[in-house]
């Protein structure tokens, strides 16, 4: 990892964020709707609208507003929310924590579910592909693959509704709508997030399991695998030590994508479970035309995606030196 490489990645990071925030700003100026008229509603007087617009600096041309925003953003001043009249930083701190907790928990679930099950399924798939297994085991594998396929095709929000209904209303494992903020009671906060996180994690885990199995089976026919077996390596040993090393590359890339998808997907799950997170705030701020909040959230989400991809690259290079950039 040379200095040049690091500089290049940082450069890409900065340019990406700049382009995205510019596009978001322009998109916002093009779509109809105006924060001031939205706020003042149907009983607003013309004078009041003009006055408020100049209070918020909205009477200035778009490039002036953009650079003013950029300037204060870079210096750490995220501005003040139009609709809530409180600083964006204050408004977002709780929401970012909530969404980050939810996303991380969902990611942990994805790993916890997909890694063991994926490996297990792979192991038995390898054996069965060698034709040495009973019809019972083949049936199990077919059933597992089919189940996996079904879970994968159910969208998270629907899983969310089913989970709320079954675990919330029938089994009473949790109380729908009774979200507790982190500051109120951290334990209850995490407890409430379990089922939403599970709703996000299930379809994603199914995808990772399928990917692990496919990837492993792809490698299983290679010469090096046959060599490893013939050298006396056991099923698990060859799978974990030889096959996985190669099979993990696409999985890790996919996991990085998954994590950024989870962050974006939490927007929908937050709606279903009434979690006051960043996603719900983003939706509301867009419909309120609350530019300072939207811009900040867009930059946060873009940064997460870029950083995760960078992380995936680094991990892959660590595992497979062949893709290391020289």
């Amino acid at each position: 990892m040379t200095l040049k490489y690091i500089l290049k990645r940082v450069g890409v990071f900065v340019v990406t964020l700049f382009v995205i925030s510019t596009l978001a700003f322009i998109a916002f100026s093009i779509i109809p709707g105006d924060p001031v008229t939205r706020m003042l509603g149907m009983n607003a007087s013309e004078e009041r609208i003009v006055e408020m617009r100049s209070e918020l600096g909205l009477d200035k041309p778009i490039h002036t507003r953009f650079f003013k925003w950029l300037q204060s953003f870079v210096t750490g001043d995220f501005g003040k929310s139009y609709s809530y009249s409180i600083p964006v930083r204050e408004l977002l701190s709780d929401k970012v924590l909530t969404t980050a907790s939810l996303s991380l928990m969902a990611f942990v679930f994805v790993l916890a579910i997909s890694m063991p099950l994926g490996l297990l399924l792979s192991r038995y798939s390898i054996i069965s592909s060698k034709g040495a297994k009973s019809s019972f085991q083949r049936a199990i594998i077919s059933a597992a693959t089919a189940l996996n396929q079904i879970i994968m095709s159910i969208p998270p929000f629907f899983t969310g509704i089913i989970i709320t209904y079954v675990f919330g209303l029938i089994l009473r494992f949790f109380t729908p709508g009774a979200f507790v903020p982190y500051s109120g009671n951290p334990a209850a906060f995490y407890a409430y997030l379990i089922f939403p996180a599970l709703s996000i994690a299930l379809p994603r885990s199914a995808m990772v399991i399928k990917l692990i199995r496919g990837s492993v089976l792809n490698e299983a026919g290679s010469d090096y695998v046959r060599t490893a077996y013939s050298r006396g390596g056991g099923q698990w040993y060859v799978l974990l030590v030889h096959i996985m090393r190669n099979a993990l590359i696409p999985v890790i890339n996919f996991l990085a994508m998954t994590l950024s998808d989870i962050v974006a997907g939490s927007i929908i799950i937050e709606q279903v479970f009434a979690i006051p997170g960043m996603g719900r705030l983003l939706l509301l701020s867009i419909s309120n035309r609350d530019y300072p909040v939207v811009q900040t959230i867009v930059v946060i989400i873009a940064s997460v995606v870029v950083i995760l991809n960078l992380l995936a690259d680094v991990i892959c290079q660590y595992i497979d030196p062949r893709i290391r950039i020289t």
Partner: protein, 549 residues
């Protein structure tokens, strides 16, 4: 299965040293490979750890469930209430800058004006203990209530009242009234410690109903984030998109509320709101649909059915063809089947209206106007032919996408218009687009919305249709209407004024300015242990009257 898996991993782990030891015997196995093996081992360990963490986490909900449920089951009497609201109070909490109806409904419990509305539709003294309106209708004299306190413990002085009224009237900024009706205020002065006199530039006896505008302390500048008023409840905290918390104000001048803690929980997703209601975490929720009421039957709620206090109509842009032709508008009015719409929307609940006035304004409301145009497609067709449209025409109905009832209404209207040969299409727009483009830009043919009143006056409903009014989004222009309106607002006698306002309503109906439909029904679910709920003629919810049985 997991135990087996863990066992095998352990097996592999324990085999690492010997394999590492004889790795020189393997052709091509380098130290990098060894490195990689270690990586995988670490990865697996992490996975196991995560599994265990996840396993532990899964046990938690049972514990928290017992925690959250215990107050319901063990304590028979509660002193808190949780109110579910579908729309966040997403504006500044400053009462003079607050504009959305939803915010007004909530902060009605925190702020009071010199007078405040009653459920019967009258104005009762609040911060003022009594008031007097001069014969000429342009001088309002108020006597300040004795020993009245703000939530921060400071006494309310005549100076605070002068400050509040001056502030809404725009005396402290460039002269733009924060609430448009206050632009007629000429002066506000404190005659002595207890007497405040407000003078207006023109006589306006209805101005009193705008004096429900909040009285706030003069030397306090955090109204936007930590509002202080004189109402029965005081503001405690708010977390955007999560909740809003009030507590009763023990030094309230009137009857101190019975319920101590109030939590407004923001549940802006219908599904989430229903789940919360079904699980019993919410005690009070308004604006439900009749289907939702049916779903909640037998789950411990009582239902109150009232109206939303708005006029829902297909508002027509009177300035664009063919709606600039009164015959066309009348033809459409005959084509609308109100009862069918009301059946589809809420099983017939709601009150039909025939002009821009809703029933809660009982003094002004003329119920018969709803029957002015009977449902008669044949007549509608012949009127259309006479107006020069024998084959009908095409039109577009703009509907804000966040209002389910309006979308449903538009859908039924499209079908009804099809019967008389008019092809209507629906265009859904975001609320802010609607405000900007449709309402302010007046760039539309027809739109389905509900129009409400910001204060308890007929003027708030009828003023917008005078031809030069800035809020006349339908471009209604009628010389007779303007004339009668001018007479109505300058009337100094209440009876005359009522008659004039009724005349205005009749003109709107005769001119078929809009296709009037109904005042939508408002269904409220309340925990069956709570009593005392009353509807107001305004869009507000008075919590101070609620109590546990």
């Amino acid at each position: 299965m997991f135990a087996f898996f863990i066992g095998r991993v352990y097996h592999v782990l324990t085999r690492v040293p010997p394999y590492g030891g004889c790795e020189v015997q393997y052709e091509g196995e380098s130290s990098k490979m060894k490195h990689a093996r270690r990586t995988i081992v670490v990865l697996l360990c992490v996975t196991m750890l995560l599994l265990m963490v996840a396993g532990c986490n899964r046990n938690e909900p049972q514990e928290s469930q017992t925690q959250t449920e215990s107050p319901d089951t063990t304590e028979p009497v509660r002193d808190d209430i949780v109110i579910g609201i579908a729309q966040d109070i997403d504006v500044s909490l400053d009462p003079h800058l607050m504009t959305s109806a939803a915010s007004r409904a909530v902060l009605f419990n925190v702020f009071e004006g010199l007078v405040k509305p009653t459920p019967e539709g009258f104005l009762a003294p609040a911060v003022a203990s009594s008031f007097e309106i001069s014969e000429s209708g342009d001088t309002f004299t108020f006597t300040l209530r004795d020993n009245i306190l703000f939530h921060n413990g400071e006494p309310v002085t005549a100076q605070d009242v002068v400050y509040s009224i001056s502030r809404v009237s725009g005396f402290y900024n460039d002269g733009t009234a924060l609430i448009p009706a206050f632009s007629i205020v000429e002066s506000v002065t404190a005659e002595d410690e207890n007497t405040i006199v407000i003078k207006t530039t023109v006589p306006n006896i209805e101005f009193l109903s705008f004096l429900t505008a909040a009285i706030i302390p003069e030397n306090y500048d955090a109204q936007e984030t930590a509002p202080v008023g004189t109402g029965p409840y005081m503001y405690v905290s708010r977390s955007p998109q999560e909740n809003l918390i009030f507590e009763k104000f023990d030094d309230y001048w009137g009857d101190v509320p019975s319920i101590t803690h109030v939590t407004y929980r923001i549940l802006d997703n219908t599904e989430a709101l229903m789940m919360a209601l079904r699980s019993g975490t919410v005690d009070f929720c308004s604006h439900l649909m009749s289907s939702q009421m049916a779903e909640l039957q037998g789950l411990g709620y009582n239902f109150e059915i009232g109206t939303m206090n708005l006029v829902q109509a297909v508002y027509l842009n009177n300035a664009v063809a063919p709606f600039d032709n009164v015959e066309v508008r009348r033809a459409l009015a005959h084509a609308i089947n109100r009862s069918e719409i009301m059946d589809v929307l809420a099983d017939g609940l709601g009150v039909p209206v025939g002009s821009s006035m809703y029933p809660a304004f009982s003094k002004y409301f003329t119920a018969e106007l709803a029957d002015y145009y009977d449902y008669d497609p044949q007549k509608a067709k012949s009127l259309l032919s006479e107006a020069g449209y024998p084959d009908g025409f095409t039109m577009e109905i703009v509907v804000p996408s966040n209002h389910g009832p309006h979308i449903d209404t538009a859908t039924v209207v499209v079908e009804q218009l099809r019967e008389i040969g008019v092809t209507a299409t629906i265009r859904l727009v975001e609320w802010s687009t609607w405000i900007d483009d449709t309402y302010r830009g007046r760039n539309f043919e027809a739109t389905v919305v509900g129009v409400d009143a910001s204060a308890m006056t007929a003027r708030a409903m009828l003023e917008r249709f005078s031809s030069t009014n800035g809020s006349n989004f339908i471009n209604f222009s009628n010389a007779e209407y303007d004339e009668v309106f001018a007479a109505a607002i300058s009337a100094t006698n209440d009876e005359d004024q009522v008659l004039l306002y009724k005349e205005l309503e009749l003109i709107l109906t005769q001119q078929a300015a809009n296709l009037y439909i109904q005042d939508l029904c408002d269904i409220i679910a309340i925990n069956e242990d709570i009593s005392g709920f009353e509807f107001y003629p305004l869009f507000v919810e008075d919590l101070a009257r609620l109590y546990y049985k």
